[in-house]
């Protein structure tokens, strides 16, 4: 770990006139896995939407690899090196699983998914199936695989384990660890504290759109955050 990949400074934003994130500042190092956690409605998803470009910040600065992210439209952030798996509407319901995994490439080549298909064998079995007919957990796995298979420096995952069964969450944790070992960085919005404990280098606890606590891996992350969530 060393240089900063992402710098967030006094980020503000929300939906129209409603400001949800109020001056969030943090930095993410190369090869670091950071979790954003907190109660429902504290602005976790809004924060990553602002970073991923789905929402336009009303203030603050965002720099990725030294480049001003606010000047980069959302569809160009993937080629810049930022992958994003949103929390809701995570697949294209009218397309097949295969189309969901390949529509953004020039061909339908699936070899980039080999390792992920080994971890989630149900997915390759359903390539021709309409993605809209998958269960909620399967849709999350599809979305997770699509984001992780990209050769991006940063992956943003919003609630990736929602509705996913425990054995697949363990596979997700393994994939996150593997990505980190390759020098990729991750921002993960998550309420599943066991995943936070397994894979986080740092965790931000959000409340009312502000970071109220930062924990790092050498602390007892799970109990630390759990205790603060109760406060």
């Amino acid at each position: 770990m060393g240089t900063d990949l992402l710098e967030v400074w006094e980020l503000r934003g929300g939906y129209g006139d409603i400001t949800v994130i109020e001056g969030f500042s943090a930095s993410l190092r190369v090869g670091e896995v950071v979790f954003i956690t907190g109660r429902n409605g504290t602005g976790k998803s809004t924060l990553v939407k602002l970073i991923a470009g789905q929402l336009t910040p009303s203030g603050g600065q965002l720099r990725f690899n030294g480049q001003d992210l606010l000047l980069v439209p959302q569809h160009k952030r993937l080629s810049l090196g930022i992958g994003y798996a949103p929390q809701e509407a995570v697949v294209f319901d009218g397309l097949s699983v295969e189309e969901n995994l390949t529509l953004h490439y020039d061909n339908r080549e699936l070899s980039r998914y080999d390792a992920l298909f080994d971890a989630f064998p149900r997915l390759p079995e359903r390539l021709k199936q309409n993605a809209g007919t998958l269960s909620g957990g399967e849709k999350k796995i599809l979305s997770f695989c699509r984001a992780m298979a990209e050769d991006t420096k940063l992956v943003i995952l919003d609630e990736p384990t929602e509705g996913v069964q425990p054995e697949n969450i363990a596979h997700m944790a393994h994939a996150i660890d593997h990505a980190r070992s390759l020098g990729r960085s991750l921002i993960v919005v998550e309420q599943n504290l066991s995943l936070v404990e397994q894979t986080a280098d740092r965790a931000f606890l959000l409340d009312n759109g502000r970071c109220i606590y930062t924990a790092d891996a050498n602390q007892n992350l799970r109990s630390d955050i759990a205790q603060r969530l109760k406060l």
Binding site: A52, K76, L103
Partner: protein, 283 residues
């Protein structure tokens, strides 16, 4: 027997040409949500494009690249200057394109005048089919339209660009997140819709009277087709076109042209009332 064969061929021809006319509106309205009231004027532009080519002494086939180029330029400019600011605001697009339709009509009127024009028949003569003589141009047109629709259908189903358009239509936020430039894709889709309308105008030009107001009828029949067939699927478009064309051809043959028009109107009202999403809506 001969009358039946002629009526069947007329029905197939009316369905094919109507489907071609509607395709542009189905793309622009069904996929982009733009209530394009200028659709008929794009058909008119295609017909006038064919007229310009004829007046220049060129073969009719030169009208195809000429009109395609014209529609690309016009479609790009309209999307860039008006439509792109109004996506996801259907009522605003309705007003804006209605104004645009008036502008296009008046523009054509200023250049060509209000009087009717006509194009020479490019493929005269008839072909004997199942005991009847049927115009060769109509038969060729049926074949070409069928081939065109088959190509569009396969391309939309199989290509990655087709998948990207479906992705953009169903979930634009996610499409953008996976790196699809939805603005650019929407622009291309709009231009493609304008081009198909222009091509329909070229195809119809040798068979219709060309005047600045010819687009109004095509706009109305296009909306009738979408009301019956529903938005968002090629199956709906073709079914809607065959129902509207079939009703029109049958009632016109049995009663009168006015009777056919009233029947189509009544059918559309019934669909709006009893089945507002049409027969094949994907929404």
């Amino acid at each position: 027997m001969e009358l039946l064969v002629v009526n069947i061929l007329n029905f197939v021809f009316a369905t094919a040409t109507l489907a071609l006319v509607v395709l542009g509106l189905a793309i622009i309205f069904g996929m982009l949500g733009v209530m394009n009231m200028a659709h008929g004027e794009f058909v008119m532009l295609g017909a006038y494009g064919a007229l310009v080519v004829q007046n220049a002494g060129l073969h009719f086939l030169f009208a195809i690249p000429f009109v395609l180029l014209l529609c690309i330029i016009v479609g790009w400019f309209i999307e860039w200057s008006i439509i792109r600011h109004l996506y996801r605001r259907p009522f605003d697009t309705l007003l804006a394109t209605w104004g645009l339709a008036i502008l296009l009509r008046k523009g054509i009127e200023a250049i060509f005048g209000r009087d009717y024009k006509s194009i020479d028949q490019t493929l005269p003569g008839t072909v004997q089919l199942m005991g009847v003589d049927y115009p060769a141009y109509r038969l060729v047109l049926i074949g070409l339209i069928a081939l065109f629709f088959l190509s569009i259908f396969l391309w939309y189903r199989k290509s990655n660009t087709g998948a990207r358009i479906k992705a953009m239509v169903t979930n634009p936020a996610l499409a953008s997140a996976v790196g699809i430039d939805t603005r650019h894709l929407a622009r291309l889709t709009f231009i493609f819709g304008v081009c198909t309308a222009g091509l329909a105008g070229v195809a119809l030009a040798p068979m219709v009277r060309i005047d600045p107001f010819m687009g109004l009828d095509y706009l109305l029949s296009s909306f009738f087709v979408l009301v019956v067939g529903g938005l968002g699927s090629l199956e709906g478009l073709l079914t809607g076109a065959s129902v509207i064309a079939g009703t029109d051809v049958t009632v016109s043959a049995l009663i009168s042209k006015t009777g056919g028009y009233i029947a189509v109107l009544t059918l559309s009202i019934l669909f709006l009332w009893l089945r507002p999403n049409g027969l094949f809506s994907s929404r």
